[in-house]
């Protein structure tokens, strides 16, 4: 009885600004959903599936990048601002490596599969090496510094990478070869979905599945999980913390590098400063799904991709960016644990 009274007392006192904001937010979401659903019905099924496909494909790439953010945050509680730029670097690097692998914009057919595989491998390796260098040079020395320091350094690193790409190739959009199949996959009736989109989604999912298996089954994966949970205890168990953290940066960047290639293949264009915004979108996805939570990052990526595509397709492109960043702020303020809960080091 006392417990019920206490709990009721709690709710009464909760009728404050915070709960009012919650209510307003909820109403805003409902209104937006209603408006979207209305427009979906107006425009018909084909358009919906096209948009959905586009959103899931975009989301798949977001997910790949988000995983890097979430793993790093989960292990050292650092927002690696430079991660989005490593992603762009992957696209740039792969573009530069193509001639060496015998790939030209006009290549086609089964003959490109092997070189593309090679391209993926060397790009992922390159991005991974870049990232662990960044970690070693810029973040590790500041591991015990006050919170602001590594954050500022991360912003500096991001600026450095963007600047390097800017000097290398200028601000222009670079054209990326279009190797993905062009046809539409019928879904029954008039509905179709772009094969391109399906390809991207499948590719990304494969990479994510490989990652999950690795995290859950391998020794290194276990070490990463242990270090993420309790660094001191992991150290006492004999885990080499520095190497484990470096491995986290390695894997995250490898995924981002792969994402960069996929991004190029899908959008056929890439520019030096793309990574900044893309990185923020991916970070939004990571937070949305629950920071530090690997399935959360994947889920968040797909959802943010769909939201962005719906906003672009059914409303206007001009408001998509504020919408996504609005979601970011909203989640951080009202539900910082995200959809699937956050996994950060216990204090």
């Amino acid at each position: 009885m006392a417990e019920t009274v206490q709990r009721l007392r709690g709710t009464f006192f909760a009728l404050n600004v915070n709960s009012l904001l919650n209510l307003v937010g909820l109403l805003a979401i409902l209104v937006a959903l209603f408006a979207t659903v209305q427009r979906v019905f107006e425009s018909g099924g084909t358009y919906f599936f096209q948009t959905l496909g586009f959103g899931l494909a975009e989301g798949a790439i977001f997910a790949l990048v988000a995983l890097g953010y979430t793993m790093v945050y989960g292990i050292i509680e650092l927002i690696n601002f430079a991660h989005g730029d490593v992603f762009t670097l992957g696209a740039f690097f792969s573009l530069a490596m193509m001639p060496l692998l015998g790939l030209t914009p006009s290549s086609s057919g089964a003959g490109i599969i092997l070189p593309m595989l090679g391209l993926f491998i060397i790009t992922m390796l390159f991005c991974a090496l870049v990232n662990i260098t960044i970690e070693r040079v810029a973040y590790r020395p500041l591991r015990h510094a006050p919170r602001l320091a590594p954050l500022i350094t991360a912003i500096g690193m991001s600026s450095l990478l963007e600047g390097a790409m800017f000097i290398w190739r200028g601000p222009f959009n670079l054209s990326y070869p279009d190797y993905l199949p062009e046809y539409q996959i019928p879904l029954g009736g008039d509905l179709t979905i772009a094969a391109k989109a399906v390809f991207v989604i499948v590719l990304a999912v494969i990479l994510m599945v490989v990652l999950t298996i690795f995290i859950n089954r391998s020794t290194l994966g276990k070490a990463m999980r242990a270090t993420a949970q309790d660094r001191d205890a992991a150290q006492l168990m004999g885990i080499n913390i520095n190497r484990t953290i470096a491995a986290t940066f390695f894997i995250g960047a490898a995924l981002a590098g792969a994402g960069g290639i996929i991004y190029g293949l899908y959008y056929n264009s890439v520019a030096a400063f793309d990574g900044f915004q893309y990185g923020l979108y991916a970070f939004t996805a990571a937070v949305f799904g629950g920071i530090g939570n690997i399935p959360g990052a994947a889920l968040g990526g797909f959802m943010i991709g769909v939201v962005a595509a719906m906003s672009d397709g059914y409303f206007t492109v001009a408001w998509t960016r504020p919408l996504i960043f609005g979601i970011l702020i909203f989640v951080l303020v009202f539900r910082p644990t995200g959809l699937l809960g956050m996994r950060v080091p216990e204090k």
């Binding site: 006392a2 417990e3 206490q6 006192f13």
Partner: protein, 254 residues
């Protein structure tokens, strides 16, 4: 003597873990009241509930007759409850006197306008605060170290500085969380003398302490916690001979 603090049916749950379970007791005005118990008994958790760092899952806390359950920490300080921390939380890179000056924050009346334009009111208040801070430093024996950075003080000095800062908030009730931890016997004696001086200023002292000699000598009444539950309450003599207390500390005999 009226109860200055009344803890009634307070429980604190963290998910599935019950840290404090249905604890009730009263602290009377003007006495030294001790909270003891084995490690992990929930003592600091209870302190945190009283000072507003945790909100009790159940129960109420009343201070000087008014309900303060769920007040945030700065409100309990303003109401007249000050505390020190088990792990010493000083402002390491501020000087000793600045630490104590900060303690006056909730008793000062300078507003933004006064601070911006250095009004005569602000200047006068700052002067008074500096004077009073120096007095408090003298009281705890740190008069000569006013300008040292808190980080650079010796361990015992740091503990005393924390008490000075707490006193600066002009409390009616002072909560000391293991104030004698790591002290030599001589330092413990000096601490007990300081407690008497604080009592003499009309401040009730409520302390968590592990050193039984200090507890038995200094406190008027004691409450004992074990695994979050209250297992005994009374005078030192009563508690000392309580079977449950003995078992809690020494373990049950076979």
């Amino acid at each position: 003597m009226a109860p200055i603090l009344r803890v009634e049916g307070v429980s604190k749950r963290f998910g599935g873990l019950v840290a404090v379970d249905n604890v009730s007791f009263e602290v009377n005005e003007g006495e030294v009241f001790a909270l003891i118990g084995p490690n992990g008994a929930g003592k600091t958790t209870l302190f945190n509930c009283v000072t507003g760092f945790y909100e009790p899952t159940l129960g109420t806390i009343a201070f000087q007759g008014s309900d303060i359950t769920g007040f945030p920490p700065h409100r309990t300080a303003k109401a007249g409850i000050a505390r020190t921390f088990q792990n010493i939380r000083l402002f390491d890179y501020m000087s000793a006197v600045d630490n104590v000056r900060l303690g006056h924050h909730c008793r000062m009346h300078s507003k933004l306008w006064d601070s911006l334009f250095k009004t005569p009111f602000e200047r006068r208040e700052e002067r008074e605060v500096i004077e009073h801070s120096m007095e408090l430093l003298q009281l705890v024996g740190l008069g000569k170290h006013a300008d040292s950075y808190a980080r650079n003080l010796a361990y015992g000095q740091q503990r005393r500085l924390e008490i000075a800062r707490a006193l600066a908030t002009n409390p009616k009730l002072l909560l000391l969380d293991e104030p004698a931890a790591g002290f030599t016997p001589q330092e413990k004696g000096e601490l007990m003398q300081l407690v008497q001086v604080i009592l003499g200023r009309g401040i009730t002292v409520f302390l968590i302490e592990h050193d039984m000699r200090v507890v038995m000598q200094a406190s008027k009444r004691i409450v004992v916690l074990d695994h979050g539950e209250k297992i005994a309450e009374g005078t030192p003599a009563e508690v000392r001979s309580n079977q449950r207390v003995i078992e809690a500390y020494l373990g049950k005999s076979a």
